[in-house]
Subunit: 306 residues, 2 copies
Amino acid sequence: MEEIKIFAPATVANLSCGFDVLGCCLQNVGDEMLLKKNDLNQLRITKITGADLPMEIHKNVAGVAVLALLDRLGSKQGFDIEIDKKIRSGSGIGSSAASSAGAVYAVNKLLDDPFTNNELIEFAMQGELLASGNAHADNVAPALLGGFSLVRSYDPLEILGLPAPSEIRMVVLHPMIEIKTRDSRSIIKQNVTLASAIAQWGNLGAFVSALYTNDYKLMGRSLHDAIVEPVRSILIPYFDELKKLALDNGALGFGISGSGPSVFAMCQGDSAAEEVKAGYLNFLQDKEVGFELHVSEINKTGIRIL
Amino acid sequence: MEEIKIFAPATVANLSCGFDVLGCCLQNVGDEMLLKKNDLNQLRITKITGADLPMEIHKNVAGVAVLALLDRLGSKQGFDIEIDKKIRSGSGIGSSAASSAGAVYAVNKLLDDPFTNNELIEFAMQGELLASGNAHADNVAPALLGGFSLVRSYDPLEILGLPAPSEIRMVVLHPMIEIKTRDSRSIIKQNVTLASAIAQWGNLGAFVSALYTNDYKLMGRSLHDAIVEPVRSILIPYFDELKKLALDNGALGFGISGSGPSVFAMCQGDSAAEEVKAGYLNFLQDKEVGFELHVSEINKTGIRIL
């Protein structure tokens, strides 16, 4: 295979109770990427549409992720990378993760799969390190694996795939302000009370259990975050109003997507999701902030070949 | 029914990754209790064997737990309680929980089940509050429900039952020193680093997943505790040696049972458990500290009528 075109999906990380360890993959929101082998022994970003991002390999998340992969293989193979960004940078739904995970996925395919998708995660994390100063895996893992992913451990890296109950719908609202993950991380306190940590791990354990038992109400009750949300939500316009609106309109739970400013409402079924969406549209019609709205199932397979 | 005799099992709480939220129930270690209705409108502890514990209702964990239940019902029914303690006080395997959970279970049966076992947990927690100064549920819940229990939330109280993979064997070693839960709690830091909290909730999420998938190796890898174990293990004689010995002899994981001094080794199957036990016996034969050893399956039903 000399070239490959892929769809690299958006992802929702943290999911309230799983800061830095939990994420899920969206179905119909994502970038497209075209990768071709070249004979120049050189890795190049040849085209980026839809966003103003660096073309230099060492400054581009897809570039550094692929370099990490090629380094591990000791390969000199060259590639040309074209990226059609549809996920907005700084939106909080895994824009950098889609590029870095997509790039390593495509290169791995063009090299006849020397790595499993799970093994690709650590290369894609190099893109996250460049983008945010932190090599977190909770976006790149669900982008590569699909469904829900859990980071059991960062050292050594161990990622689990979790079940994705079929009725889950994610209503993702992106208020049109940009928050850099790097900045959004810097406001988080590096010490937390033991009491809030206990509450957090009780909820995460319960959320994982609910994924196995298809207990949608329990998923909703578990979507709580007493640690990061109180700090980050300050940066998000109308956060409290949107949360109340989503829950009043039947959402199972509501929280910040990744580092924001996007917020997610988890719903059971299409009609519940449509109600939440309609409530948002009604609320936002006279507000000055622009926004994008996505309604998506959970993408069970992750990145796919087009 | 005028009287009832029950077996109130020992429990292992915390289980490394689940401080204050996770516990499991043991099969063949526990107290026996005999409860009879009396016509005196009076709650009495009439006999305690096997331990030197207060007979006064307000100072006895079984007494305060039953009082909480009767208060909720507005009942004046009197009961005589006899307790044959076989779980040593201060051993770290839920001695106080067995008494308080056992007492409310028995009283509930004698009153024709006004409450579910799950509803009994909050009454039994009053016994834990008396014993340790903290109304934790991670021993009383598995004693009442059997199997593994997870506290999703303390406020409001919500407890989940989790699957109990049938090959799990718990090798519980009780070094004969006494650590009061109250004292053992007081040395824990009330603030933790966000990094260690993230590691903890990653492991707890993975442990819950492993219970659903019967992934014994993953259970073992998830039994880590970077928060409480480093502090509490200092109080436990030969902790590091016992941990290494258990893991070298094939245990899936090892940690402190509750607030200690008991330690548990989780093993897959009988022969693995016997190897760990033999290793302990060999190691401890020339040591000065006395000890008790229990090997148990997970008790899937909790308290039972004898």
